[in-house]
Subunit: 236 residues, 2 copies
DNA sequence: TCAAAAGTGTTTTCAGTACACCCATGC
DNA sequence: GCATGGGTGTACTGAAAACACTTTTGA
């Protein structure tokens, strides 16, 4: 299988992992699910959840499996998509390990409890890892930055923002997702017009939600549209 | 290095390759560089150029090396970016081989000549591979489709279209790239306004190019802008 | 003078923005 | 009533589309 190495140059077998950037919005802040490393290297540092791709397993299946193991949630309830591959020779001191990063977006999930397969997983605000205040193991800081940039641009052209909302949700819930991820305030009335006009983005349930104050808000579920047309552009 | 398999499940070492989707515009048609497979599996079928990632080599470096080996052109003269990873267990009958696909865009290049390291590489129109008329080896048909979709959307938000043009080029050259890749006719006057107004997209050389007929066209080089703002949207 | 391609100007339309205003609820 | 957030109406603005028109070349 690796006989080609003699003609193509030195090629040793490698390991392939998947790493997950699982994002959610909690308390008006974007959070990412991190696990604390129990072993060297980077023992004690937070890292993205992930693991080896098993024999006979597709990349998507490995990502879905790890997602379920770490969050306890069925992967089909979250938006899960491949981000890109990372393979710097020195990214893991144990050897040549390639990783395929996945981006998962979901509503505020129950914090995975210790004692399960999850190793001390916890939701952390993304801020300190983006500005360099805090460190992540391996090249996970870079992966997180890439994932966030992908998420930001996905909000413009696709309907994934709704994946951040637990159903049923209001237009204001959805707007808060955009405001948190893009870190810009949006005009509530114009936002409502755009998302309700977009075909098959939001499906009204007919119900309303009452809060402490104010008029009850109409409730929606995610529609089956995946692309958002027209797109919802961030400020130029 | 693979000791973790006992805890994580069956994990055997794997091979990692890079595959290149090298696109260019020739004779008003989008072409992709393909090589004919000389060995099993898929002997005789066209395939994307690619090869194993070597020890100590980054993914980007492996892609650039393969690009130079197959086209004879310096990689820095082409736009080269990672597309995504593919790792279906059955995608290569020889074993578990993951591949990281790259998208390369360039001007009409000299056809790589046989006798070099390149194995009978040739430019082929993409059409028959997209509509299923012709087959590619492995899962390269899917990779080509994904790459083309990426290229199409990249034209909207980035300045990569200029990578298809040999410098210096005219606004009409650039417009033809958009028309060929998107397969839609564009209004020449509105197109000109948009691309010349975009900051740092085009740098006028001051020269003009004369054709058989018509007024000489101003010549441009690529500017240093990477993002195109405002974006150039395809018809809704 | 004509054909052909480059390039400019103008009108119309339409989407995004800003913001005034009305609605429905709890207190 | 009043505060609070939900939701509608509307005028303003700027970019995109359509297309008439001018410019500059070769034949």
């Amino acid at each position: 299988m690796f006989g080609a190495s003699t003609r193509l140059g030195p090629v040793s077998p490698a390991a392939v992992t998947v790493d997950l950037v699982i994002l959610t919005v909690r308390e008006e802040t974007l959070h990412v699910l991190l696990v604390e490393r129990g072993n060297e290297p980077y023992r004690g540092l937070p890292a993205l959840p992930g693991g080896y791709v098993r024999d006979g397993e597709t990349l998507d299946a490995a990502a879905a499996r790890e997602l379920e193991e770490e969050t306890g949630l069925a992967a089909h309830r979250l938006h899960l998509e491949q981000l890109r591959a990372y393979g710097e020779p020195g990214r893991d001191p144990r050897g040549r390990i390639f990783t395929v990063a996945y981006l998962a977006l979901g509503p505020e999930l129950p914090v995975p409890s210790a004692g399960t397969d999850a190793r001390a997983a916890l939701w952390s605000p993304v801020g300190p890892y983006l500005d360099g205040t805090d460190e992540l193991a391996f090249d996970h800081g870079m992966i997180l930055r890439d994932a966030l940039e992908r998420a930001r641009s996905q909000l413009e052209y696709t309907t994934v923002a709704a994946a951040f909302c637990a159903e049923p949700f209001t237009v204001a819930d959805l707007r808060r997702v955009y405001e948190v991820v893009w870190d810009v305030p949006l005009d509530p009335s114009n936002f409502r017009r755009k998302v309700t006009k977009a075909e098959r983005f939001l499906v009204p349930t007919g119900d309303r939600r009452m809060l402490d104050a104010g008029r009850p808000a109409a409730l929606y579920r995610r529609g089956d549209a995946r692309l958002l047309s027209p797109p919802l552009l961030r400020g130029a």
